[in-house]
Every structure is written in structure tokens, then in C-alpha cells.
């Protein structure tokens, strides 16, 4: 009677083992450890980090590795699959530093993971450079060993709100919707004062449950309260449902903008032409102006990445590359892999990369401006940056039956 169960368990264990396998490291490699979402609901974005980490390590090793004092040493990776489970991720980071004795740490995806995992890096005094968590909460606890390469969550909508003031006709009412997790709550908290300062009236300010699949009730309220602008801070699955249900309920505000999804290839593929008019933001675009020591420039990187992995990189991938480069550069500057010294070198870093200039503030977080982007005819257009409009936004959004 128990046979089939044990078969299943066996199959399961071997499947997990396969997923957790990584390249073998030799004794004097500098091992970077990470726990990433390779399976589970966050695997879709988690893969950017795994692919970026591997790609960066490969490129740095091709160039001879990292110069530590007089010798050149190669990098190696140890990645575990945390199955999109925060508590598993914390256990895996503990294992990485206490048993696997990795030299330095790279981060997981998502703020709630980075929030929990940074407690491990702090406790063991091993620096972690993470490119997956943007929530201000991660950096507000005075931790010394956590660094972040994503722009602060509180300012995700900053450039969007500046743009709203310059649109014609200028919108007056805003609905702010956000998921109930660390990142999205930080976004909402940061956006409220911006909206107030911009003189916009907030007609809806609603928190919803992460992974919600039905937005019809919220959308009906957006329509009823005549919100002209809808800002949504959430996860990609929710944004997909939101847009689809907006169409089926014929809810068309003048503008809607989303914290995630818009820069990603997958999002536009899933929605097809319904993705048009959606605004979003990104702190990174693959331009040739962003020079990089290992990849040449950001445009060359994006091309090589697409060839290697079969999908376009977005800012998550570029941020992941920046994490590996930051650790490599810091080790070179420190001339040692001793964690505390590397930590001090990271804090003092300032170098140009394909992701932008890497330099961390007092709290450990990078500060990059967000460029407003919009899907126009199936492609991402840069609409608004630090110097004002770049391309003309498609605004206001027409009714769904008039597209």
C-alpha cells in the first residue's frame, strides 16, 4: 500500500536534487552563495537572478577572474532553490554561510525574502549584495552587511507622479492599489506624499491580498469613483489579471501604471495588444551609453543575454549582474576575500557598470532614477526621465472598444 507513495517521494527527491545542482567549485575559487526562486510561484522572476549570476560569473572568469592581491582567482557559484518559500530561503542562507562556508553572498528575488535573509548575513557578518529587494524596510534597520542594487521602493512612482503634472489634459484624481507585502506597502507609503505634493486627489487607497486573482470588485469601484489615474503596486500575475479584467469590465482610466510587468517580455507576450497603453517604470534600459568592464556595454549585454537564454533581460537581470560585479570589484579593491574587509570595500564602491553607476548610500541602498516607460504598439517606449519627456506618451488611454 505504501509503495506508490515511496515511489512518488523518490521521484520528488531526485527532481529537487536535479534542480539544486550547480557547477563544481575548485578549492581556491571564491564561492558566491545564493538562494533563488527556481521553482514555485516566483520562479518566473527568480530565473532572471540565476541566469544573471551565472552569466556574470562566466564573463568574469573568461576575463581571467578576480584579482586578489597578487593572484587571480576564479569565481564559483552555489545556488539553492528556495521553492519560493521564505523560511526555506533563510535556512539555505544559514547553510551557505555556516556549512558550505561560501565567501560572499548574493541575494534572492523579492523584498520579503531579502528582508528575512539579510538577518542571516548580518548575524554571520558576511556581506550580501542583493538585486531583488527594493523595499525601504530592508535598509531601515541599520544593518551593516546588506547592500541593494534596486532603486528604493518608496520612489518607484516618483518619476510617474512628476510626469502626471505635465500631462495635458492634467489628471486630477488618483486610485492607489497595492498588494500587502513588504515591497508594495513601501511603494504605497512612498507614493502618498508625492501625490499630495503634486496636488492630486486620491479617491481610492486600497490594499489587497497578494496573489488575488479577482479584481472585478476593485475595478468597478475605480470606475464608480471616476479615478483618472490608477497606480498599482503588485505582482505580475495580479497585474495580468487586472488588465484583462479591466478590459472585460470596460474600465479605462486615462492612465494606469504598474510597478512590475511592463518591462518584461513575458508580460507583453501574455497580454498581446491588450498590453498597449500600460505605463510602468524601469531604472535600467539596455543602451550603449552604459559601459561595462566585462560586457562592453548594456546593449551588447542584452543581445548576448537574449542569445544565451532565449528571452530579453529586464532590470532584474541587469541588477543581478551588478550584484556579482559589485562583489568582484569590492574583492579587487580590498585585496582580500575576508568578509569584513570586503564589506567595507563595498560601502566605498563607485564604478560604472552596464546597470549604471554602482555606489551605495549610507543605508546600503543604491539610488537610481526611474524612467517612465509605456507599452506602445507591443514595444516598450521610454516616455519620461529626469530631463522631462523623451517620447510622446499615448495619453489619455482610449476606451477599450475604441482601440
Amino acid at each position: 500500500m505504501f509503495k506508490p507513495v515511496s515511489y512518488l517521494a523518490g521521484a520528488l527527491l531526485s527532481a529537487t536534487a536535479l534542480l539544486a545542482a550547480g557547477p563544481a567549485a575548485s578549492a581556491d575559487d571564491i564561492v558566491l552563495g545564493a538562494s533563488v526562486q527556481l521553482t514555485g510561484p516566483l520562479a518566473n522572476t527568480g530565473r532572471y537572478y540565476k541566469d544573471a549570476y551565472e552569466f556574470a560569473v562566466e564573463k568574469i572568469n573568461e576575463a581571467g577572474g578576480v584579482k586578489v592581491g597578487a593572484e587571480k582567482r576564479k569565481l564559483a557559484l552555489k545556488i539553492y532553490d528556495n521553492q519560493s518559500d521564505v523560511s526555506l530561503s533563510v535556512r539555505q542562507y544559514t547553510q551557505l554561510v555556516s556549512q558550505d562556508k561560501v565567501s560572499l553572498l548574493l541575494g534572492p528575488f523579492a523584498s520579503n525574502f531579502a528582508l528575512a535573509d539579510s538577518a542571516v548575513s548580518e548575524k554571520y557578518k558576511v556581506p550580501m549584495v542583493q538585486g531583488g529587494g527594493a523595499s525601504d524596510q530592508i535598509f531601515s534597520r541599520g544593518f551593516k552587511y546588506i547592500f541593494g542594487t534596486l532603486a528604493p521602493a518608496s520612489n518607484y512612482f516618483g518619476s510617474t507622479v512628476s510626469m502626471l503634472k505635465e500631462l495635458d489634459p492634467a489628471p486630477k484624481t488618483v486610485a492607489l492599489l497595492y498588494a500587502d507585502d513588504a515591497f508594495d506597502v513601501s511603494v504605497a507609503k512612498g507614493t502618498r506624499p508625492l501625490l499630495k505634493a503634486a496636488g492630486l486627489t486620491t479617491v481610492m487607497d486600497e490594499k489587497y491580498t497578494s496573489n488575488a486573482s479577482d479584481f472585478s470588485a476593485l475595478l468597478s469601484q475605480v470606475k464608480d469613483k471616476k479615478a483618472e489615474v490608477v497606480l498599482v503596486a503588485g505582482h505580475e500575475t495580479e497585474i495580468l489579471n487586472f488588465v484583462r479584467q479591466a478590459k472585460s469590465l470596460a474600465v479605462a482610466p486615462k492612465l494606469y501604471s504598474f510597478t512590475v510587468g511592463v518591462p518584461s517580455d513575458d508580460f507583453r507576450k501574455a497580454l498581446g495588444s491588450d498590453a498597449d497603453y500600460a505605463f510602468g517604470m524601469t531604472a535600467w534600459l539596455p543602451t550603449a551609453e552604459l559601459k561595462d568592464k566585462w560586457f562592453g556595454d548594456a546593449a551588447a549585454f542584452a543581445k548576448a543575454y537574449k542569445e544565451k537564454f532565449g528571452y530579453d533581460p529586464d532590470y532584474h537581470a541587469a541588477s543581478g549582474i551588478a550584484d556579482v560585479e559589485a562583489l568582484a570589484q569590492a574583492v579587487e579593491n580590498a585585496g582580500t576575500t575576508e568578509p569584513q574587509k570586503v564589506r567595507d570595500a563595498i560601502a566605498k564602491l563607485k564604478f560604472d557598470s552596464l546597470y549604471g553607476t554602482i555606489a551605495f548610500g549610507e543605508s546600503g541602498q543604491i539610488d537610481l532614477p526611474q524612467i517612465v516607460i509605456q507599452v506602445q504598439g507591443g514595444k516598450v517606449a521610454e516616455v519620461y526621465g529626469a530631463k522631462g519627456f523623451i517620447e510622446k506618451p499615448h495619453y489619455p488611454m482610449p476606451a477599450w472598444d475604441a482601440r
Binding site: 527532481a15 510561484p41 489579471n241 472585460s248
Partner: protein
């Protein structure tokens, strides 16, 4: 007033979708006494099947539902005959363990086969709506609702009127007596499970046209189906429709009046309430 009407319509249509998702779970639970924790994973597989039929063969998701259902029936029949029949008379715990195992295996196989990319079944009319004055009725959800009602009534007639349906009910009520009358339970169990999975598959196709598909949607859907089956009761397929509608309307009203984070609190609160108010009938099935 318009808003309330709109919210109620949203809730009713959502309830129709819930009902069709829960129909198969309730049938398998009622007849085989198996709480199929892999039910949501089968909905996910059905959604991927419908997605492939639409994307690669151009078969409309609604017209393709019978095909999806037939393929899923085959899968369900085989899984029951080859795997679940081994534990059909075993304690409840074993059935939970094995169906949980199936859910995990199906989910991870789906990620290996289909990647974690998000998919949508997006025929040109999927986002269309019918405007009734100020109130808007989404077309795809209305169609899904119609299919849910039709399938439920169909199931009801099938169980009450046909020979096979009577045999299924007889087996559920008294196995020994049914066997004395010539019912072959192994085949019958497999057919019942197959029908349950076929319904899950059809629900998956509909779910893909109104929502998004990824390998991990299953677990949350199972939980919802479970709540609906308990609220509606297992005795009668019409109960599932009632359960789905109650849940859909309550969730929508909770979003309107209490706040969007309370939708799940409200629906599982109703579940607890039903268990308190009507425990005897419900505990009889689960014990």
C-alpha cells in the same frame, strides 16, 4: 446603486466560475470519499491543454472544451485505475497523502514542461462586454457562467436519470448492495474520477480565458474548491452552484464594504460558519 448592482453581477459571475471548478472535486469527494488535493493541479493541466489547443491548433477555447474534457477524462481514468484504486478503501489520511503527492508532482512537471512563464488564453472576444445601461457584463465570464449552469444541471440529470449515474449513486450509498446488483466498482470509480477530472479540465479552459495560467495556480484553487464543496454540500451538484454563488457574492461584497484584503477572510469565515451551523451533515462526509 449602480456600483452595488455591478458588484453583485461580478460576484454572481465569479461564483459561476467557482462552481464549475468545484463541481469535479465535490463529485469525487461524494462518491469515492477522496478529497482530491490535486484537483487544482488538474485544473491547471486543463488550462494548459486548452492554451495549447488554442495557440498551436487555433481551436477556440470554448469550442475546444469537449476535447479538453475528453483528454482529461482519459487521464483521470488512468490515474484512478493505476494509482488511486490502491488506496480507495484506505484511511482518509492515505488518500490525502497520495493526492497531495500527485499535486506536487504535477506542479513541478508542469514547470519543467511549460516553464514558469505566465500564459493567457486570449481570443479576440475574451475581453468583450455587454453594456446594460451603466452596468457592464463581461462576455467571457457570462459564457463561463452559462457553461457552469449547463454542466451542473447536466450532472444532476445524469446522476438521477441515467443507468451509469444511478450506479454511481448506488455505489456511493452502499457498496455491497451495488455489487450484488452487478455494479463493477473498480471501473465505476475510475469513470467517476475521470468525470471529476474532465470537469476540472473544462474549468481550467474557462479559467485560462478570464485569468492567467502558471504551474502554481493549483493549490489556491483547490482550497477554494474545497470551501465551495463544503458550503454547498456533496449530496447534490446543485449545491455546488449555490456554494459557488454564495462565495463569489460574499467575496465581492467584502471587497466593497470591508476592504480587498478581507475577501479571503470573508470566504473562509463563511466556511467556518457553515461548519458550525450545519455540522452533522458535513462531518458525516469528512469523517
Amino acid at each position: 446603486m449602480d456600483l452595488l448592482t455591478q458588484i453583485l453581477i461580478n460576484g454572481v459571475l465569479l461564483g459561476g466560475l467557482y462552481a464549475i471548478m468545484a463541481l469535479g472535486l465535490a463529485l469525487v469527494w461524494g462518491v469515492l470519499n477522496i478529497v482530491n488535493l490535486a484537483h487544482g493541479a488538474f485544473i491547471m493541466l486543463g488550462a494548459y491543454l486548452a492554451w495549447h489547443l488554442y495557440t498551436y491548433l487555433g481551436i477556440d477555447p470554448f469550442l475546444g472544451l469537449p476535447l479538453t474534457a475528453i483528454i482529461m477524462f482519459g487521464l483521470g481514468y488512468v490515474v484512478q485505475r493505476g494509482l488511486l484504486n490502491l488506496i480507495v478503501r484506505a484511511p482518509m489520511f492515505n488518500t490525502l497523502l497520495i493526492t497531495f503527492g500527485i499535486e506536487v508532482v504535477l506542479t513541478y512537471l508542469a514547470q519543467l514542461a511549460f516553464s514558469a512563464d505566465y500564459r493567457t488564453i486570449n481570443p479576440p472576444y475574451a475581453g468583450n462586454s455587454i453594456a446594460l445601461g451603466p452596468v457592464v457584463v463581461p462576455l467571457a465570464r457570462l459564457m463561463a457562467f452559462g457553461i457552469a449552469i449547463a454542466l451542473t444541471v447536466g450532472m444532476w440529470v445524469f446522476l438521477l436519470r441515467t443507468r451509469l449515474g444511478r450506479a454511481i449513486r448506488a455505489t456511493a450509498q452502499n457498496l455491497v448492495a451495488a455489487r450484488l446488483y452487478g455494479v463493477e466498482p473498480r471501473h465505476l470509480y475510475a469513470v467517476t474520477f475521470g468525470i471529476g477530472i474532465a470537469l476540472a479540465g473544462a474549468a481550467g479552459g474557462l479559467y485560462g480565458t478570464v485569468s492567467q495560467i502558471n504551474p502554481y495556480i493549483g493549490a489556491a484553487l483547490t482550497a477554494k474548491c474545497f470551501a465551495i464543496a463544503i458550503i454547498g454540500g456533496l449530496e447534490n451538484p446543485l449545491g455546488v452552484i449555490v456554494g459557488g454563488l454564495v462565495l463569489g457574492v460574499i467575496e465581492s461584497l467584502a471587497v466593497l464594504y470591508i476592504g480587498a484584503t478581507f475577501a479571503d477572510v470573508a470566504s473562509f469565515g463563511v466556511l467556518v460558519l457553515v461548519l458550525i451551523v450545519r455540522p452533522s451533515g458535513l462531518l458525516g462526509k469528512t469523517a
